[in-house]
Symmetry: C2
Subunit: 185 residues, 2 copies
């Protein structure tokens, strides 16, 4: 049986830009991403790096060619590891991710992502709905404050925790980095 595939979503330098505001899990999320990558490399389990290429002029820090487009130091792909570039939140839309996972017989997808509630949650929801067993590594994710339609602002940590609660048990198992590494065995 194929080993679980680690999907590292949008762990890019742009998130350090003050325009995004203050994050939660800073810097523990990227430290946990580094631990996941190390464990997956040691186990010779598959890794897919997903990065976001923005085209919206309002978010130049994620445009290709700008420094923010680069992977964070903790998440730089090694030679030979697969990199997929997406232009919307879901790593499954406008990419060949699903075909790649199916072609390697992948049954389990393990997601670490920036941000927890946008690209991470959307990718996890589709992964679960497409039939992959999905583990969402909560402490290897991070998000920002969000403002509701009526102007109410919710702090990043609350958005993070409610986003995890909404996917847990429905789309994915929400687990910690330690648990993901234990399960990899």
């Amino acid at each position: 049986m194929a080993k679980p595939t680690l999907l590292v979503v949008d762990v890019q330098k742009a998130w350090d830009d003050p325009a995004f505001g203050q994050r939660n899990n800073d810097p523990s999320a990227e430290e946990n991403v580094a631990r996941l990558l190390q464990a997956w490399r040691t186990a010779e389990a598959p890794i897919i790096h997903v990065r976001h290429r923005e085209t919206d002029p309002d978010w130049p820090m994620l445009h290709e060619g700008n420094p923010g487009f680069e992977f964070m130091d903790e998440a730089v792909p090694k030679e030979g590891e697969l990199v997929i570039t997406k232009e919307v939140n879901s790593a499954f839309i406008g990419t060949d991710l699903e075909e790649r996972l199916r072609s390697t017989g992948t049954t389990t997808v393990v997601v670490a992502a920036f941000t927890t509630d946008h690209c991470g949650s959307t990718t996890v929801r589709m992964s679960g709905n497409l039939g992959f067993e999905t583990w969402y590594v909560g402490d290897a994710c991070s998000t920002f404050d969000r403002e509701g339609p009526d102007g109410e602002v919710f702090p990043a940590e609350l958005i993070h925790r409610t986003a995890l609660a909404s996917v847990h048990g429905e789309f994915a198992d929400v687990i910690t980095t330690d648990e993901a590494i234990n399960r990899l065995g």
Copy 2:
């Protein structure tokens, strides 16, 4: 240009089952769904009813043939209105919804859904990421308490509001029933 398509997602009797716990927006969500349907019918704008057919033995109330599978009284399709049945959260996975929207030249999708953070949010995320202008009608949605991976329970109303904040401005415009009817014109 095609009028906006109203997508009514999973407004089924099962949600009255005590096994799901207590909802928010009860009964205002379904009352607002009824108002949306009336406005769309009056404007002769397209309506698609999406219903959930569960196969998981843990959720028999949503199995086809059980009373909970039926549409709520406020959301019963009229003769000639399209009904799509799905088996996962997203109305776009395992259905021909995207092709149907494209074939009619639809550019705008308007979503009212049970539940706000599960099937509604997932459908809205995919709608936005597939390139449809998407309006999410918050006061015509409802959800339940959710429990996080560490056992923390978040009340339905908080889950509802944070779920809306996470999609607002990123995947969809989150608006009210009044605003949706105003925009329909």
